[in-house]
């Protein structure tokens, strides 16, 4: 009988393999704070957050802070960006250390990235994507500073990204994609705007993501990937339609993606594990009460 190898995953997170030739570790350098969020949240889900030195972690997070503008970078010495600002705030919440923040400054950084049409840029360079709408809204919600943005315009922009299949893309007209859908649905939920969602239509699109192997894909005719256990499943939960997928088959898929010897979870069975997929696999399994 397959089970979630919680202890092995904790071991994996705590001692990430030190291989200098590993290109994966190199490409994570600029988003280390995302990696930290995924790793720490996984530990928290497995009730092992106390394995990490809280003070060290918080102090390192604050080294990523930009005093001049209130944003956080992906690593020490990296430019500020919404993606990493959200991770920083979420990590501090995990440790219940929001008090180290200059909340006004951080929320001003976030709200300053809203554009005229209600969308959000990721940073000063202006890339627009509904992912950033979610990052901004989630962050400001945690900080209780939603009043700093124009919520109505933010919602209207997200709704303009709704497609004929009930899903959402990165920008208006962008293909429906489970990751983007999670961001849009999450943002709409936080702002009390789920009435804009055709839950039945979207719920059907989302449950059609389940493949024969029990896993979930992110778009029609793509392969299943463990990370969609989060993007699709949490979207279904938000719109109260999680019972439209076959949960036991999904559980089996997630458990099959584990490295049962060394710990960690991969995107699909027998592939290399990484922190990103370990987090989403454990989070999905958690939802499914595994």
């Amino acid at each position: 009988m397959e089970k979630l190898e919680g202890e092995k995953h904790v071991k994996y997170i705590l001692s990430v393999e030190k291989r200098k030739d590993d290109f994966e570790s190199l490409v994570m350098d600029h988003l280390r704070i995302n990696g930290a969020y995924w790793g720490l949240t996984t530990l928290d889900l497995l009730h092992k957050l106390d394995c990490v030195d809280q003070e060290e972690a918080v102090s390192w997070v604050m080294q990523c802070y930009h005093e001049d503008c209130g944003g956080f970078g992906g690593n020490v010495g990296h430019d500020p960006h919404l993606l990493y600002t959200l991770s920083a705030v979420q990590i501090l919440v995990l440790f219940d250390k929001l008090d180290v923040l200059d909340v006004e400054k951080v929320s001003n950084y976030v709200s300053g990235l809203q554009n005229e049409d209600g969308s959000f840029s990721g940073d000063m360079w202006g890339e627009i994507d509904t992912r950033f709408s979610y990052c901004a809204i989630c962050c400001l919600s945690i900080l209780h500073r939603m009043d700093k943005i124009n919520v109505e315009k933010a919602v209207n922009y997200i709704v303009s990204c709704k497609n004929l299949d009930g899903g959402f893309g990165c920008t208006p007209g962008g293909e429906s994609h489970a990751g983007q859908i999670f961001c849009c649905i999450g943002a709409l939920a936080i702002t009390g705007s789920l009435h804009h969602v055709d839950k039945d239509l979207l719920g059907w699109w989302l449950c059609e993501r389940q493949c024969k192997d029990g896993g979930l894909n992110g778009r029609p005719e793509k392969f299943a990937d463990v990370c969609y256990s989060w993007w699709v499943l949490s979207s279904l939960i938000i719109i109260d339609r999680a019972h439209w997928i076959d949960k036991s088959k999904l559980i089996n898929f997630i458990l099959n993606c584990q490295d049962k010897e060394k710990g960690g979870i991969s995107d699909r069975p027998d592939n290399a594990v990484d922190v990103f997929h370990t987090y989403f696999g454990v989070a999905g399994a958690n939802y499914l009460s595994v």
């Binding site: 350098d29 988003l31 720490l40 990490v52 010495g77 920008t171 429906s176 719920g203 005719e221 076959d246």
Partner: protein, 331 residues
């Protein structure tokens, strides 16, 4: 000398043009969270980058250094930011820059920063950049026709810089190459609704319905054309019900006895909208039903739900809910 991937070069510490720079090591603190191990040349390149970044040195050697770092880690967005600042300061040739980005994007097509950099460049180069951008995305699509970043970029180019002339034909070609390419179907909808050169959804509906139906009949298990077909009638149920072609394609697929899941769900939607089915429909669905669960009193919609629950067990709960929530006057 710099190279695009920084692999075969002399270490920076041994290059005369960098002799005056003191590299700045990364300060992780004593116990870094999620420690990452570095290849030696990556570490060195980042140490030198940090030096010029902190000194805000917007020089040619800084530009070359960003090329090296990008070659080692194209996801490093800070390096791309700094590169843009340097390009502006040097008043660099942006056509050359585009050639450079072409090479990098071919190596790393799933990277957000590259596409954003391309967008910044294209904005600066103006509408005449449209052709090259569209050509470049086509090149990426030959490797990965569903690349989400590339589609997002192509849509942005069309909206911001133009170039709609061949877009519908291009969608056609992609769909002919792979009828299961959902991105191409999405793009088709994008074109017929947003292109200033076409008449809009209503004007295009008839020809597009024919196109979708042809695709459905070739591969009835293909999710995309069924969704596309539904989208063509969005907000116009009357038109959907009055068009014979839609129930007709459902019937044809059902008759084949194979790959009829989407045909059944389309039939279910039609029935819920008030479609009056012929006896032929009732006979065919009855043939698919488990005879134990059906009775002469069962309406067609209920039978359809029953069949779907059986043949699509992953979504059994969804089909059961559809059955429970059928409109009262449904056939």
């Amino acid at each position: 000398m710099s190279s695009d991937d920084g692999e075969e070069c002399l270490p920076l510490s041994q290059r005369p043009e960098w002799a005056d720079v003191r590299p700045v090591p990364q300060d992780d603190g004593p116990k870094p969270v999620v420690p990452i191990h570095y290849r030696e040349n990556f570490r060195e390149a980042m140490d030198y980058f940090r030096a010029v970044y902190l000194a805000d040195e917007r020089s040619l050697r800084s530009l070359n250094l960003t090329s090296e770092v990008i070659g080692l880690n194209p996801g490093n967005y800070t390096v791309w930011h700094f590169r843009r600042l340097v390009l502006e300061a040097l008043n660099a040739d942006l056509h050359e820059e585009r050639d450079y980005v072409d090479r990098v994007a071919e190596r790393f097509p799933k990277n957000y920063q590259i596409w954003h950099h391309r967008r910044w460049l294209a904005e600066k180069l103006g509408p005449k950049a449209a052709d090259k951008e569209l050509e470049f995305t086509k090149k990426i699509f030959t490797i990965d026709a569903k690349n989400y970043h590339t589609w997002s970029h192509r849509q942005w180019v069309l909206l911001a810089l133009g170039g709609w002339d061949d877009e519908l034909d291009y969608c056609q070609k992609l769909i002919e190459n792979d009828v299961f390419n959902n991105s191409a179907w999405n793009q088709r909808y994008f074109v017929i609704t947003k292109s200033p050169l076409l008449g809009g959804l209503q004007a295009m509906r008839e020809s597009e319905v024919s196109f979708a139906i042809k695709a459905i009949l070739t591969n009835p298990q293909n999710e995309s054309p069924w969704r596309y077909l539904r989208g063509l009638y969005k907000g116009d149920i009357e038109q959907l019900l009055s068009d014979n072609q839609v129930p007709e394609v459902c019937l044809q697929v059902l008759k084949s006895g194979r790959n009829f899941l989407f045909a059944l769900s389309m039939l279910l939607d039609l029935l819920c909208f008030g479609f009056q089915p012929s006896d032929e429909f009732k006979r065919i669905v009855e043939g698919l039903t488990n005879s134990e669960s059906s009775s002469s009193d069962t309406n067609l919609a209920t039978s359809v739900c029953n069949v779907l629950e059986t043949v699509d067990p992953l979504r059994a709960n969804y089909w059961a809910w559809r059955r429970r929530t059928l409109p009262s006057m449904v056939c």
